[in-house]
């Protein structure tokens, strides 16, 4: 009898989805809500993994794309009953035109996904067609994150400033607010769909070329592929997925603030991938879950020590497991036969 042989990473994926799918049955309401939020982070982690893990483009300001989706959704949700409160406080009495356009939640979903994709596409178009190397991409995206945070903090009338936009209603479908379990499984379904999409995309010819670009750009160019077009495309797709994560994050978390979308959150995602492992989707997912769950357990008791430990772990991972935990595991399994 032939046994279906799955690679180790797929088994880990299955195990993760099994745990996530069954978790609400435990009845731990507080943790169900928390895990729901972390599931949104999975989408964000994958969006960075297809960009950095597969195509080798280290985006240090990825949360900008996440934040654009999140803020579009948050603005739309807060404008359901006329002019949002924080805008009124700044003296805006009339609904601005652009806000009217995204008042319908479905319009907001669409804009929240397309706007970051557009920004990524434009930036990619502009940068990748020149000789700009990988390091420049990292630094430009890093400074973009700083400018974006600055912008959010200063345009208090449109973004709620430092405090962000709070008191957002949870997920709702066709005007009916969802219960916690319903909303959990709604997010779970979205996570599964995004996972299948990323898997299929990375297993396709497109994904193969991306890995080729990561390994040897010049050779890919000699093989007749327009590398800048592929890089721009993956950046745009990654932007759309990051935007989707943001769109889900706003209602799931109930609020959004500059801290959730700036340099800090961008670097957090980089840490998940570095520790979990890049270029397998599995590593990104496990890294994101592991660090968030551990961080939640430890940061209350240890505070800054947790961050300090995280810094040390990054350095140690670079030296002793540059392929990340999952990469290291996969290697060990392979060697054992």
């Amino acid at each position: 009898m032939k046994r279906l042989k799955l690679p180790m990473t797929r088994k880990l994926d299955l195990a993760l989805f099994l745990v996530l799918g069954l978790f609400p049955l435990s009845g731990l309401l507080f943790y169900t809500q928390l895990i729901e939020k972390y599931m949104v982070f999975l989408i964000f982690a994958w969006s960075l993994d297809i960009l950095w893990g597969y195509a080798g483009l280290m985006d240090l300001g990825h949360a900008v794309l996440f934040g654009m989706g999140g803020y579009v959704m948050a603005l739309s949700l807060s404008a359901q009953n006329g002019v949002p409160e924080f805008m009124e406080r700044c003296g805006i009495t009339q609904m601005p035109l652009w806000l009217q356009a995204i008042t319908s939640p479905w319009a907001a979903v669409l804009v929240g996904i397309l706007l970051p994709a557009l920004l990524a596409w434009l930036l990619g178009r502009f940068l990748f067609t020149s000789q700009v190397g990988g390091v420049f991409f990292s630094v430009i995206t890093l400074s973009l994150a700083q400018v974006f945070t600055l912008f959010l903090n200063s345009r208090q009338d449109y973004t709620g400033g430092f405090n962000g936009i709070g008191d957002l209603p949870g997920l709702a479908l066709f005007g009916e607010p969802l219960t916690l379990t319903q909303s959990y499984y709604f997010v779970f379904a979205a996570v599964l769909l995004v996972y299948l999409f990323c898997r299929a995309l990375m297993n396709s010819r497109f994904g193969l070329i991306l890995r080729g670009i990561r390994e040897n750009e010049t050779r890919i160019e000699f093989l007749g592929c327009d590398r800048s077009a592929f890089k721009t495309a993956v950046f745009a797709v990654s932007g759309a997925l990051a935007g989707l994560a943001g769109v889900l994050y706003a209602p799931v978390n109930g609020m959004i603030a500059p801290n959730d979308v700036g340099v800090e959150f961008s670097t957090a995602a980089v840490v998940w991938l570095a520790i979990g492992g890049r270029g397998s989707l599995t590593g990104a997912a496990l890294g994101a879950m592991l660090i968030n769950v551990l961080g939640n357990m430890l940061s209350e008791q240890f505070g800054a020590f947790w961050q300090l430990l995280l810094g040390f772990v990054i350095v140690l991972v670079v030296f002793f497991a540059p392929e990340g935990i999952v990469g290291k595991l996969a290697k060990a399994v392979k060697e054992r036969g």
């Binding site: 700009v132 890093l142 600055l150 980089v270 020590f305």
Partner: protein
């Protein structure tokens, strides 16, 4: 007209601060080809050293400057020996590791001093007025001091025996080793020198900017963009680059507001990097 002149002088002052920070970056990134994401934290170390020397120990600011240089240089030397050296030729890994280091340094300082902003007294009180424009003495001191640091760095690298070795190692490592240069030691000292310059930038900025564990981020971005715009290996280019960044954010900031100015400067720099990735004043590389 007066306000324009005031903005120009303000811009000159911030240009000077950016220049010292970027000089360290030029030494580390331009000469050694290392992307150090902990550069901002070396600046932060310099600022905290200045804080400790002047506020905690109650000593003069004149002592704080060399102390900041020494503290940051020592940190840089340790960083080079423990981390950077082992990752030669792996730019992505270097970026990730130095990023981890930056988190470690931020949190260590955070644990020791707390997250709140620290205050460093302005060492030179008083100001004089030119027409209607008031110029603090400390700004003049900063500009002159930075000019001296720039001249000193150039002389140090071009004229001294050690500077010659540094340039020999960056131009042809194996040849320099054949001629008896201890390249590992040169690497450590070069990195320490660049880090020391970063520390000096932190000490100079401490009295006029906020000193906190997380102050490094913007400095990292500014010094990187400045050195890239000028051409990473050119001191003249870096000077022009810092003038460009400092003056344009001050002038645009005066005309509109700080945020729009920052966004505009950022866009201009992206455009420059896009069309001249080798920098405005790149040296011909053979």
């Amino acid at each position: 007209m007066d306000s324009f002149f005031a903005l120009l002088l303000n811009g000159l002052n911030s240009s000077a601060l950016i220049l010292v920070a970027a000089l360290g970056m030029v030494v580390i990134c331009g000469l050694m080809n290392v992307i150090n994401l902990a550069h901002g934290e070396l600046i932060m170390i310099g600022a905290y050293t200045a804080f400790c020397v002047t506020q905690k120990a109650g000593l003069s600011f004149a002592l704080a400057l060399p102390a900041a240089f020494a503290a940051a240089a020592a940190a840089g030397a340790v960083l080079e020996i423990l981390v950077i050296r082992r990752l030669t030729g792996k730019p992505a890994e270097t970026m990730l590791a130095t990023f981890g280091i930056s988190v470690v340094l931020q949190q260590t300082v955070n644990l020791i001093f707390g997250a709140q902003s620290q205050y460093v007294a302005i060492p030179l009180e008083g100001n004089f007025s030119l027409g209607h424009v008031v110029v603090p003495f400390y700004n003049i001191f900063t500009i002159l001091f930075v000019a001296a640091v720039l001249a000193g760095t150039v002389v140090f690298l071009k004229k001294t025996r050690f500077g010659r070795r540094v340039r020999a190692v960056t131009q042809n490592r194996s040849m320099a080793e054949c001629l008896g240069v201890n390249s590992a030691r040169v690497d450590t000292l070069t990195f320490a020198f660049g880090s020391g310059l970063a520390g000096l930038a932190g000490a100079l900025a401490a009295p006029v900017k906020s000193v906190s564990p997380f102050m490094g981020g913007p400095y990292l971005v500014y010094s990187f963009l400045t050195s890239v715009v000028g051409g990473v290996a050119s001191f003249f280019g870096t000077t022009v680059g810092s003038l460009l960044v400092g003056e344009s954010s001050a002038l645009l900031g005066g005309l509109s507001n700080d945020v729009i100015a920052n966004i505009l400067v950022f866009l201009i720099i992206i455009a420059i990097i896009r069309f001249k990735p080798e920098g405005l004043f790149a040296k011909e590389r053979r």
